[in-house]
Amino acid sequence: MGRILTFLVIGLGLMVGGVWFSHNVHLGFLDKVAEMGIPLDLGMTIATIGVFLALFPVIDTFYVKPLKEAIDSRNSELESTFTEAENLKSEMGKMRSDYEKRLADTEANAREQIQSSIKEAQNLRQTLLAEATEKADSMVKKANEEIEASRAKALTDIRSQVVDLSLLAAEKVVGENMNNDRNRKLVDDFISTAEVSR
């Protein structure tokens, strides 16, 4: 404010001085200049300098500086808005990349789990197949054994019945009881021999 007052005082002084100069000082060469078509009043020039010296600080302080502050404030506000927008954009980009990464991880996990399940199912299948095969084999083996036992038993029974029948037939032929242990053994040996030769 002191600067404005100084300029205002100097300006007013020059204005007053210019008016005084215009009314009281007469310079001869100015008449010649006026004759050339250029009417010059140096007092007016001095007063004009005073007017501008007073105007410069007034316009600067009360109009130009507030305008500059308003423009600067708006620019800084815009800059902060842009910075905020940029930050939000980068944050969104980061979130998006995180989301994409998580999505990719989830997909990879799901794929891995599916693969693992498939592998597990295949293993289970193999195991079950092996167990079933083993079970079937054991059942076949058992059946074969049972068949063999039945066959052996049947053969034994048949052989016993054949022996009985032979002895009965021989008894009928010979007319005596031949059902002793020695004859039984003979017939039995004979049947065995017959089986072998057959």
Partner: protein
């Protein structure tokens, strides 16, 4: 109304006897009109400074004027040219409103040599002050001597260049003064002459020059400010290269 103004103007003009003599009081009256119009405009513009975006038309034009002059200063003088913007704004506003007043009134301050010489002397003095501040007093004076020449050439040519540059520097005042005076006063004279030619037909044909005069209003304000920037740039450009090198290429506000 028009005749009243003309009578008033002619009374002021003939106050000291000569038909072409303009008194300081007469110019003072018109300068008062100019300043009142200018401060009304500035006050209307200032009302809109609080808004985030200047919706007020007057504030918008003032902002555009400020940015235009800032760009002109930065492009012509350099990045340190911003500090001259308040002075340029003052010159622009006074010359523009004075020229505008000249469109509707028979006299205006910018149609007076003494007023224009005052503005030119302010520019001249400020340019010398800034030149001396930027380069030192001796450096600024030696600036007029042109480039350093070897041996005999320096003795023979440097004084001549110094004299020519000194005259050239002083002629800048005359140039600034007479250009503005010639354009505004000449415009008035042209309108009066054409009106005089057609007055017997009751037609003010001189008013058809209004579009050209309107253009002159703007162009003359701009030229005065541009030349001020050029003169300041010539004496402070060197200073800018050395002391404000980091500020090179700094763009003005868009």
């Amino acid at each position: 109304m028009d005749s009243l103004l003309l009578n008033h103007a002619s009374r002021l003009a003939s106050a000291e006897g000569g038909e072409h003599t303009v008194t300081i009081a007469g110019v003072g009256v018109y300068l008062g009109v100019v300043l009142i119009a200018m401060f009304i405009y500035l006050s209307m513009a200032k009302k809109g400074f609080g808004q985030r975006v200047f919706k007020n038309f007057v504030t918008g034009t003032f902002e555009q004027l400020y940015l235009f002059l800032e760009n002109m200063a930065v492009n012509t003088i350099g990045s340190h040219g911003r500090k001259y913007v308040p002075m340029l704004v003052t010159f622009w506003l006074v010359i523009f409103f004075a020229n505008l007043v000249g469109l509707f009134f028979p006299l205006t301050p910018t149609a007076v040599v003494g007023f224009n010489l005052g503005m030119a002397l302010i520019v001249f003095g400020y340019v010398q002050y800034e030149g001396a501040r930027a380069n030192g007093v001796l450096g600024h004076i030696s600036h007029f001597a042109g480039p350093k020449l070897p041996g005999v050439l320096a003795v023979l040519i440097t004084p001549i260049i110094f004299c020519i540059e000194l005259v050239s520097e002083l002629m800048k005042n005359v140039s600034l003064t007479l250009r503005l005076y010639g354009n505004i006063h000449g415009g008035h004279q042209a309108v009066e002459a054409i009106n005089h030619l057609t007055e017997k037909f009751y037609i003010a044909a001189g008013e058809f020059l209004l579009p050209i005069k309107l253009l002159t209003v703007l162009v003359q304000a701009m030229i005065f400010c541009l030349l001020t920037c050029v003169y300041l740039g010539l004496v402070t450009g060197h200073h800018d290269d050395h002391e404000h090198g980091d500020g090179h290429g700094e763009a003005a506000h868009a």
